[in-house]
């Protein structure tokens, strides 16, 4: 698509409602720091941000403020950020997930986190799932792949990213080009737990690369994680 065509889509992109192929093309332009796209999308995002002031104001419950503070307290039983995955101690995914479940997040009823754990467990519980460990100087961890349910990546010691970069997972088929399995960022302690649902039939390997922040249609850097299945 030309820039003239993309100009029609910046607003929809900022609202998160652009259709393909415009969404992917704009993301690619952002990833390679296209000045025109970056400027236009930032302006559109600013407009969307101000739109939040047109939303009817509602008062949150008082307990929510306390929950926010509890969330970041250094008490390990409440520390979501650093206690997300006690990777070093866990060793295997099941132990890690159970440990996370015991860190207080269940008590805090975080449905989103529980949904992610549930998705991870669905992959883990698939008898057909493959469990592959990886480790190199840049990252270590484990990939679980269920052909019918999806992929779970648990990684530690991930490389530090520049502010305009993001991690991207790829499914490498036995034939043909890598298929994007989505983008993710690491936590502050350089760990990540990333779940990608869907079928992964015919995958020969799972790889992770560092890509421009918009993600890429195909890998643009050498994968630093490659797990052969």
């Amino acid at each position: 698509m030309t820039h003239e065509e993309l100009r029609e889509e910046y607003g929809a992109f900022a609202l998160g409602v652009a259709d393909e192929p415009a969404r992917l093309e704009i993301a690619e332009h952002l990833g390679r720091q296209c000045e025109e796209c970056t400027t236009a999308v930032r302006q559109a995002l600013a407009t969307v941000a101000v739109m939040s002031e047109a939303v009817a104001t509602a008062e949150p419950p008082a307990r929510l403020r306390r929950r926010i503070l509890d969330m970041v307290r250094k008490d390990p039983k409440r520390n979501w950020a650093l206690g997300l995955i006690p990777w070093a101690a866990a060793g295997i995914l099941a132990v890690a997930l159970v440990s996370v479940g015991l860190t207080g997040r269940v008590a805090q009823k975080d449905k989103d986190a529980l949904a992610r754990l549930e998705q991870a467990l669905q992959v883990l519980n698939d008898p057909a799932a493959k469990d592959v460990a990886f480790g190199d100087p840049q990252a270590s961890g484990r990939v679980l792949v269920s052909p019918s349910r999806g992929v779970v990546l648990i990684a530690a010691h991930l490389p530090k990213l520049q502010s305009d970069r993001i991690f991207q997972m790829w499914v490498i088929p036995t034939q043909g080009n890598p298929i994007s399995a989505g983008t993710f960022l690491s936590e502050v302690d350089d760990t990540a737990v990333y779940v990608r649902r869907g079928t992964v039939a015919g995958a020969a390997a799972i790889a992770v690369t560092v890509e421009p922040s918009g993600g890429s249609a195909q890998p643009t850097t050498t994968p630093f994680i490659v797990t052969k299945l």
Partner: protein
């Protein structure tokens, strides 16, 4: 919220959010409370308007602040607009949820992650959430015709793609795209320098 003298000075100088982001990057727990006091009500309002479920909204607000806490190292404190970034995460969390209910989570999660990357919130107006802008956006919304208002509502509150909007409204895709584009253009024109 009571702001001590130094913070009040920072607030008046327009650097409060910059200092707040630096404190978050230094893992200052108190900064999270200050962040919540500053943006929690707005995040709550946006999320609860989208998901229409107070219990769920609490979880999504918490998830929003957790994301800021865990991703703040990617944020450029000196150039970034903290509030717009947080609000983008808040709305995306809510839209992700309702899309997952519609079983479209895979598509939505990737798309929205890109649109809330911290690098997209640099060099943006820092004082974007002020009473003038609230007044301006309210007036600007009233300038939209009924179709433009409808597509903005379907996009902002329901996260429908333009194709889905066209199906919902029984209109050609090109027509819906024109409405979305002209609606945002109208809003941007009314907001003026705040969004340039």
């Amino acid at each position: 919220m009571t702001i001590p003298g130094l913070l009040l000075a920072l607030e008046l100088s327009g650097h409060y959010d910059e200092e707040l982001a630096r404190r978050l990057q230094q893992r200052d727990e108190r900064a999270m409370v200050d962040l919540y006091d500053r943006y929690g009500r707005l995040a709550w309002s946006v999320i609860v308007a989208i998901v229409r479920d107070a219990s769920l909204a609490e979880d999504l607000v918490q998830e929003t602040f957790l994301r800021v806490w865990t991703r703040i190292q990617f944020f450029e404190a000196g150039r970034g607009a903290l509030g717009p970034w947080l609000l983008a995460i808040a709305r995306n969390r809510a839209i992700d949820h309702i899309r997952s209910v519609r079983s479209r989570m895979d598509r939505g999660s990737v798309e929205l992650d890109v649109a809330s990357h911290p690098s997209l919130f640099v060099d943006m107006e820092r004082d974007i959430f002020n009473t003038d802008h609230a007044r301006l956006i309210g007036a600007a919304m009233k300038k939209l015709n009924a179709n433009q208002q409808r597509v903005i509502e379907l996009a902002y509150y329901e996260g429908l793609s333009q194709t889905e909007m066209a199906e919902r409204m029984g209109q050609p895709l090109g027509t819906v795209k024109t409405w979305v584009r002209t609606a945002l253009s109208t809003l941007r024109d009314h907001l003026g320098e705040a969004v340039r």
